[in-house]
Symmetry: C2
Subunit: 198 residues, 2 copies
């Protein structure tokens, strides 16, 4: 079989999907070609458009095809609350699970000088500007409790302190239904240091 048939190109291109190896790519290609060409064509169309048109919201840096994302443009969201997350996907999780009605700010990573990730890569200048606007009364940090995450949180806390903005951090500890004996040591240690009076 010639190496560069369109079918082989499709199988090769499908490998860019996360977790898709040669076998899965082949299975997906045959599935689309034999059972769902319409879905495949629609996916191709939407994907092409999404890859070129989706950029970042100029206010919160989340993924959006508009200059201002739906959340930033929504007048019903409380401008006094600002939740800082690492990734856009975390906004989706928070929106689905909580009744948080404030706004967001997406860092896109954590401070990591060793990897060359500095404040400007995380848009921290933009965040400082936002805090200086004076609208935000509380910054809620939803950043992972790793070393880099803590450094990042510390950095933001200092910026906020200068503007007299209250800073909180979401609780880290044993998850709901988590059995103590199966929870990892780091989480358990966090749960102890973060214990609260009843």
């Amino acid at each position: 079989m010639a190496q560069r048939t369109l079918l082989n190109q499709l199988i090769e291109a499908l490998r860019c999907l996360p977790g898709v190896g040669p076998k899965s790519a082949q299975r997906i290609a045959f599935h689309l070609l034999e059972r769902d060409r319409e879905g495949g064509s629609r996916l191709a169309r939407v994907m092409a458009e999404a890859m070129t048109r989706i950029g970042r919201c100029r206010r919160c840096r989340t993924l959006s095809e508009h200059e201002l994302c739906g959340l930033c443009a929504n007048p019903n969201r409380d401008p006094g609350l600002l939740c800082v997350v690492e990734q856009p996907s975390e906004i989706v999780a928070i929106e689905q699970a909580t009744d948080y009605r404030g706004q967001y700010f997406v860092l896109g990573g954590r401070l990591s000088p060793l990897d060359g990730i500095g404040p400007e890569d995380l848009g921290l200048g933009l965040l400082e500007e936002r805090l200086r606007e004076g609208l935000v009364s509380e910054v809620i940090l939803a950043i992972s409790p790793t070393v880099e995450g803590s450094v990042t949180a510390q950095y933001i806390a200092e910026c906020a302190a200068q503007g007299n903005v209250k800073v909180t951090r979401i609780a880290h500890g044993v998850p709901l239904g988590g059995e103590l004996e199966y929870v990892d040591g780091g989480t358990l240690a966090l749960a102890f240091t973060g214990r609260r009076a009843l």
Copy 2:
């Protein structure tokens, strides 16, 4: 968040991939947008082309963007051997695992009158024509040993008998490394009825 953002459309469209639910679709969308836009754009381009341009080989009915697929057009393949398979993906598996150098014919399914799948749906007329050409000396049936598969095999065997073409069927039995106690009953029964003298 507005329901019809481009991001939501992408997540929705990704659901056409086999085995991809809402969570995976979201994960794939964010992965492509944040880490591999180039791969996503290439995939979109190739997929759009594949969905419209890939048709069926007019000789063996496998998926191909040309009128004659690479295998049928290859003069080095033995025209005397014809392997009949159910799906195009099975050709790939046979090509990778065996040293079979003959040609193929793809049914696209099995005879199943109850589901309205008759000889014309499987291209059996085209297969009969092919056998009448007189080039094929042996038909190798690589059809699954289900009830419908056996009926289909029987039908083809009768056509071949009329043209004095030898018909064989690939062996079904206990797989290499398969432990007898874990092999399903049907396979084990097949292995017994299909036993051969040493």
